[in-house]
Amino acid sequence: MPRQAITLEAGRGPGPSLSLGRVLVYAALIAAAVFFLVPLFVMAITSVKSMEDIRTGHLISWPRHFTLEAWSKAWDTACIGVNCVGMKGYFWNSVRMVVPAVVLSTLIGAMNGYVFSKWRFPGSETFFSLLLLGCFIPFQVILLPMSLTLGKLGIAQSVQGLILVHTVYGLPFTTLFFRNFYVTIPEEIIKAAKIDGAGFFRILRKIVLPVSAPIFVVSIIWQTTQIWNDFLFGVVFSGSGSQPVTVALNNLVNTSTGVKEYNVDMAAAIIAGLPTLLVYIISGKYFVRGLTAGAVKG
């Protein structure tokens, strides 16, 4: 049940008034907003400066000439290794990897969450805890054994390998989200359905799935962000035709010798981060709604 917000002037009457309390609240929020926005601002403004401006100015100095040269270079012609084709190809590689992995890990997580919350059996809680522990494994540890395994499965250095890796390591999280959400569905409804003779899939279809939209959004947003932004798996398990955009960005930004073109670097960084950024801007509201609906309770 959604709750009315508790305001700082509890009992003082309806509607917010411009009291000292509220001024302080807004001041604090704005200060925090500045703190959060500064790096993005630095990136954006650097990406539209010329190298001359960067050398002579400082972090947030206003550019003397606006130029989008760095952007077109980052997308189209920047040298990522020997091939000077910019980021665009790698962008597509990331998409090919992210979409299946997100879909798979979300669907499987949903099924798992359903079982863990509504179809418990002896040992299921233990298994859930063991699954949760999978959230804590540092990924450097699994690099070599995973390579061994992918090699044996014949999918090393391929998009399929990356999809497998991301799906497996996303399962603990998606399962956690769905399980916690489904726990909030009242037991009575399920019990009643079972008495009426409904089975596993019927309950899933008729009762559980219809209310799952918020948690699907949460899971999709979380997984998309994690997988799109991953670098370690992307660099180790990809082949030359499947390197994701984070690897390309790293190649661009971390060149060990030569002239650093900071404006191109920043433009490329924004390009690499744009999809996830957009996802958050567009669906942030649903994200919180999904969390509200119980992604993290219970």
Binding site: P138, L144, M146, P172, G199
Partner: protein, 301 residues
């Protein structure tokens, strides 16, 4: 809410095994890709592997070397504790405070919320460059503030051996606090009205209401936050690498970067594996009791 037991016995047809069947793929995956790999790493840590894995048993020599002859390891461990405790504490504090503030029927709540959340959307490869600049003594904040007139302002934490780790905390909190904010905001919104109204009728002051009623009912959110933040803290590899590369010297080294350097860059795979096992065991020692106490409690919720 009492736990319902499966009403049909195992032998009672498909319904009985269907839940198990559904979980089976995940079960196999976790068995192999998490626990199997941990076992593999444990085995390697007991060998003499250098560049690539070899499987000949060599005892606990690596662990001995790790703890008695490697000063850098102790720096890494200490850093993990400093970093994790500060990171988790600040993220929760900042997230909770901002959530409470945002909950005050603020205008443009969505706008603020988006601003606080967006850092989580970006990879550190992306923002690391920007933070490095901001914290750079010559090019960044120091230069800017001096430009504004405070010519004696210094901000050299990034390059100071003792203070560098705190810059890592700063950048990490910046990235993750927004997510904690979202969790707490959701938690706040989910609290039942009647209890609060009753307390207000009783004349309880606002701080008291928060302290006695609201924060305790956010306990599950604390759990989720700690889980996710711990996960991020342990994984913080990209962050350290991009911001400080473990420096100055190795003052900001962490077990994750330590393990990576020794296993992959220095051809001491078994040694790196040993450090990974120690890191993992230490984390387990902390997380398992916490998970146990929390999950046991919610079973009876």
């Amino acid at each position: 809410m009492s736990e319902t037991r499966a009403r049909k016995p195992l032998a009672g047809g498909l319904e009985g095994i269907l839940p198990r069947l559904v979980l089976a793929p995940t079960f196999v995956a976790i068995l192999v890709f998490v626990y199997g790999f941990i076992a593999w790493t444990a085995w390697i840590s007991l060998t003499g592997s250098r560049l690539l894995p070899n499987y000949k048993f060599a005892g606990f020599a690596q662990y001995l070397t790790l703890f008695t002859r490697e000063p850098r390891w102790w720096v890494a461990i200490l850093n993990l504790f400093i970093f994790s405790s500060l990171f988790i504490a600040f993220c929760i504090a900042l997230g909770l405070i901002l959530a409470v503030l945002l909950d005050q029927r603020v205008r443009a709540e969505g706008f603020f919320r988006t601003i606080y959340l967006y850092p989580m959307a970006l990879s550190f490869i992306v923002t690391g460059a920007a933070w490095k600049w901001i914290l750079n003594p010559d090019l960044g904040l120091e230069r800017l503030v001096r430009h504004l007139g405070f010519s004696n302002f210094t901000f050299r934490w990034l390059v100071d051996s003792k203070m560098a780790i705190y810059t890592v905390v700063l950048a990490a909190v910046w990235q993750s606090a927004g997510f904690v904010l979202a969790l707490f905001l959701a938690g706040l919104r989910g609290i039942d009205d009647s209890i609060i109204k009753a307390a207000q009728v009783d004349g309880a002051s606002l701080p008291r209401i928060y302290w006695r009623i609201i924060i305790p009912s956010l306990r599950p959110v604390f759990l989720s936050s700690v889980i996710i933040l711990s996960h991020i803290a342990i994984k913080s590899f990209d962050l350290v690498i991009v911001l400080t590369r473990g420096g100055p010297g190795y003052a900001t080294d962490m077990p994750a970067t330590f393990m990576y350097a020794f296993a992959f860059n220095r051809g001491r795979l078994a040694f790196g594996a040993a450090s990974a096992m120690v890191m993992f065991l230490a984390v387990m020692a902390l997380i398992i009791p916490y998970l146990y106490s929390e999950l046991k409690g919610t079973r009876n919720a």
